[in-house]
């Protein structure tokens, strides 16, 4: 199966000479969402639908920057976000083409509300 980096550069072109010439950018060493979805299918075929779900969420998250990932993680930690803030995160994820991640955040919000883990407000 042909594999390309997030940048679109084919895997065989990610070489030391390309690096030396300064041709490579960080996106050349980032995984492509299609690759993650393919790995998710492999996980599913090998009997682990939860790992497959994780990899599919990961495929969605390739569209997000590092800072944004760190911010969402922080928002999901206990007592960090109001329910409204969590809903905003979910909407942002939805809009960024990350529906299953959005669903995860909404599920968290519902449970945080029940267990009192959201920031009041």
């Amino acid at each position: 199966m042909k594999c390309t980096a997030l940048s679109g550069r084919p895997l065989p072109e990610i070489t030391i000479d390309a690096a030396g010439r300064g041709d490579l950018s960080p996106a050349d060493l980032r995984i492509h969402p299609d690759t993650l979805r393919r790995q998710a299918d492999v996980a599913e075929q090998h009997g682990n639908p939860q790992l497959a779900d994780n990899l599919r969420r990961a495929a969605e998250l390739t569209a997000l920057g590092d800072e944004e990932l760190l911010a969402i993680y922080e928002a999901l930690r206990p007592g960090r976000s109001t329910l409204a803030e969590l809903e905003t995160v979910a909407c942002r994820l939805q809009a960024a083409g990350a529906p299953s991640c959005a669903e995860l955040v909404r599920e968290a919000a519902a449970m945080y509300e029940r267990r009192g883990l959201h920031k009041p407000g």
Partner: protein
């Protein structure tokens, strides 16, 4: 609680002095034992205490804290009265609406996540209806395919699986682990840290670890802000010598993620799960934040696993009265539910808490099995020192070692104890030779291999130089060549000159400010002439693009092939199946540096050849002089063998015997007994030739006795059986006593030297080689001949 006297409280000091004494061959004075836990000097009886208990109290095991079982505090390994009955209820839409006695509206965070994502509703009723013993038998039975067990486990609730593994005896746990672990090929992880966060030493030690065969390296920091520097140094060092080892830097979750995203690490493990809601939240996370973290790592192509381990909840005072196994079963079920590919457990930080209760060691092993049953990669603990007793800590690790695991250790301390910033591991750098010999003893692949000193010097230097070059090139720090030299030779950071701590901090700051990542490292290596290492680090980057190592239990072999559940599934189905040590691997494991051939063992003999000259004369006839004592020597003594096992030249042993006889006014006569190598027969043959009827037998290895012509062959008057401890003076005493026997006196018998050391372990390899030479020189049926001592 035993009463420990004062010097025992300082037990480590005692252990050290024990080791020192134990390491000096022959340090025991003749007739007196070496210093040891047992004291012969009369401590027993002090204040009326039994000497037996005073001695026992001094043993290292008595420094370990052992707890009474206490269900309310969670100090129970397998079954607390507060553990729930395993139950599950599925509604018409396939939702889990009741789990282990809790209704959906009462679910805590952990219940809720497991119920929503972690239970396969299609087998839940079947799995939970299966009697525990029956379930346990399926796990052990080699005829039941692994897949069939995994299918059932998918529907089992945490309480169910905890109860099932509780039914397994230790040997059954081993059988289960051999069958249920995910990857066929076992592997092993190392801790690589040091007290100074010295990047050169980290790199040299990382290269050392991969040279020994470790395939995952975990570093951490004594100073949090140093983390990026440590991650970078270990990344570079890990690719020196061989390719493909994975690296991580264990720190606070957010920083660990950040370094992972930039490619300074190639996997993550410090993603902690806990079995009770309170402790989970105290850990500043929820199942949902952890699930997001899993996906975040995967989104950058990074392997990750979660960490749990029994005893953590009791340690944090909120076990809800549940048993350790039950809470751990919840963690593992949650790990599966959030989509992690693997779990580090088997105690971890709480290992000593688990080990303090009855059945604790068995529980630690059962935790590993819980992970395997959920079809996840097991990174199997053994990473914190569970006992001051070498016997007890080894007994903790050996059952898993023999059974095999995806990772036998989630951190073997590849560095020496004082440099392990996780705290000492159960096995450490000091134990590497023990571990290599254990592999060899059992023919079991523990993942490591012997390394020659020259090779290790080469990779340590290369790694230290690579990091020196990269730090210079990237403007992080400028380390002098002299420091590289120090690092190459150092056992650990205590051997290094002081390091200005701000140097590392500053390097780490620059890495953070400039957001340096894997590509910067690759370019710096390439620019500074470390092309091979640049290629390998880049290959780790390419691996993130390919994503194959996101599958369960993935590692890279040294040719960058991915070994995982997908490419290398465990196919154990009983004897003759599953992972097999190849002949090449067996040879590699066998060739420890202490191994000696017969030729090697006999090498030191040659240096003493010819120091005494015994000329064979006529066939020996019985003597008539009542003062005559015959000294019979073995076939190879002073023909092919020249040194006793004590290191004394045979000529000296012989001369001391002759001197002892002379002092008693006896006439000594030397004969060679050619027809046998048996010391009793040699001594008896000599006695029968002696006019006095008293003979001495002496083998080249130094074993000696006094015999009398009317005794049966296997009887004797006096015997030195422990040749390695016999001194020249003692041979003289043997001669003296033989003379006194010849005169009809009754001398005080010489004392066979005694020792507490494993004297046979030390010398038997050499003895076998010497006996083979004696056997080769033996002439069955040939009569004894007189010998003349020429010089």
């Amino acid at each position: 609680m035993p009463q420990l006297d004062n010097d025992v409280r300082d037990g480590r000091a005692i252990l050290r002095s024990d080791n020192q004494n134990g390491s000096v061959p022959g340090s025991a004075a003749p007739g007196g034992p070496a210093h040891h836990g047992w004291s012969p000097t009369g401590l027993g009886g002090a204040q009326g205490r039994l000497g037996r208990f005073v001695g026992l109290d001094r043993r290292p095991v008595n420094l370990d804290g052992l707890s009474c079982e206490d269900g309310d505090a969670g100090l129970v390994a397998f079954a607390s009265v507060h553990d729930p009955e395993p139950t599950v209820e599925i509604d018409d839409e396939g939702h889990v609406v009741q789990l282990d006695g809790v209704q959906a509206d009462e679910f805590d965070l952990i219940d809720a996540y497991i119920a929503a994502h972690g239970i396969d509703a299609s087998v839940a009723v079947e799995a939970n209806g299966l009697p525990e013993v029956e379930f346990a038998r399926l796990i052990v039975d080699p005829a039941t395919p692994r897949e069939a067990v995994v299918r059932l486990a998918r529907g089992a609730t945490p309480a169910k699986l905890a109860r099932v593994v509780a039914r397994l005896r230790p040997v059954e746990l081993q059988m289960a682990i051999a069958k249920m672990r995910v990857r066929r090929t076992p592997s092993i992880q190392a801790h690589v840290t040091n007290l100074l966060d010295d990047p050169l030493l980290l790199a040299a030690d990382a290269a050392t670890a991969v040279a020994f065969g470790f395939r995952e390296l975990e570093t951490t920091v004594p100073v949090l802000a140093d983390a990026p520097s440590n991650a970078l140094a270990v990344l570079v060092g890990s690719q020196v010598g061989v390719a493909g080892a994975l690296t991580q830097c264990s720190v606070e979750e957010a920083l660990e993620l950040e370094m992972g995203l930039r490619g300074l690490t190639t996997y993550a493990e410090t993603v902690s799960l806990y079995g009770t809601e309170q402790v989970f939240v105290d850990g500043d996370d929820t199942p949902w934040s952890k699930a997001f973290l899993c996906s975040a790592y995967a989104s950058r192509g990074l392997k990750m696993r979660v960490t749990s381990g029994g005893g953590a909840e009791a340690l944090m005072g909120e076990a809800e009265g549940k048993s350790m196994c039950h809470l751990e079963s919840r963690c593992v079920a949650l790990a599966r539910a959030i989509g992690a590919q693997g779990v580090q457990n088997g105690g971890i930080d709480g290992a000593s808490v688990v080990a303090s209760v009855p059945d604790g060691m068995r529980e630690l092993l059962a935790e590993n099995l819980l992970v395997m049953l959920r079809d996840l990669e097991s990174c199997s603990g053994n990473d914190s020192l569970v006992s001051e007793s070498d016997m007890r800590r080894t007994a903790h690790t050996v059952p898993l070692f023999l059974a095999g695991s995806d990772f036998l250790f989630s951190g073997f301390g590849s560095i020496v104890r004082h440099d392990n910033m996780f705290g000492p591991s159960n096995f450490n750098g000091e134990d590497l030779d023990d571990y290599l010999v254990l592999q060899r003893d059992w023919g079991v692949d523990g993942g490591l291999r012997p390394v020659a000193e020259a090779r290790l010097r080469e990779v340590r230097e290369r790694a230290a130089r690579a990091v020196q070059a990269v730090y210079r090139d990237l403007g992080l720090a400028d380390f002098a060549d002299a420091r590289v030299d120090e690092v190459v030779l150092a056992e650990g950071s205590r051997d290094l000159s002081p390091l200005d701590p701000t140097v590392v901090l500053q390097a780490a700051d620059v890495i953070q400010e400039r957001e340096l990542g894997i590509l910067d490292v690759v370019r710096a290596l390439e620019r500074t002439g470390f092309r091979e290492e640049a290629e390998r680090v880049l290959a780790m980057g390419r691996a993130r693009v390919a994503g194959d190592y996101l599958q369960t239990a993935a590692i890279f072999d040294e040719k960058m092939n991915v070994l995982s559940k997908v490419t290398d599934p465990n196919d154990y189905q009983g004897p003759g199946t599953g992972y097999e040590v190849t002949p090449a691997r067996r040879e590699e494991m066998a060739e420890v540096r202490q191994q000696r051939s017969r030729q090697d063992l006999l090498e030191r003999q040659a240096a003493h050849a010819g120091h005494i000259h015994l000329v064979e004369r006529d066939e020996a006839e019985p003597g008539a002089d009542p003062r005559e004592v015959c000294v019979g020597v073995s076939p190879a003594l002073a023909t092919r063998l020249w040194l006793t096992t004590s290191g004394l030249p045979v000529g000296q042993a012989l001369r001391q015997i002759l001197a002892g006889l002379e002092e008693e006014g006896c006439v000594a006569r030397l004969v060679r007994v050619r027809s046998t190598i048996d010391l009793g027969m040699i001594g008896l043959a000599a006695a029968r030739l002696a006019g006095s009827g008293i003979g001495i037998g002496l083998q080249a290895k130094g074993t000696a006795l006094i015999h009398r012509r009317d005794l049966p062959p296997l009887a004797c008057l006096e015997l030195y059986s422990i040749a390695p401890l016999v001194t020249g003076q003692m041979y003289r005493a043997l001669g003296t006593n033989a003379g006194r026997h010849a005169k009809g006196l009754r001398p005080v018998p010489v004392r066979n030297p005694s020792t507490e050391q494993a004297i046979e372990a030390r010398y038997h390899a050499e003895v076998v080689a010497m006996v083979a030479v004696e056997r080769g020189e033996c002439l069955p049926g040939a009569p004894p001949v007189d010998l003349e001592l020429v010089r």
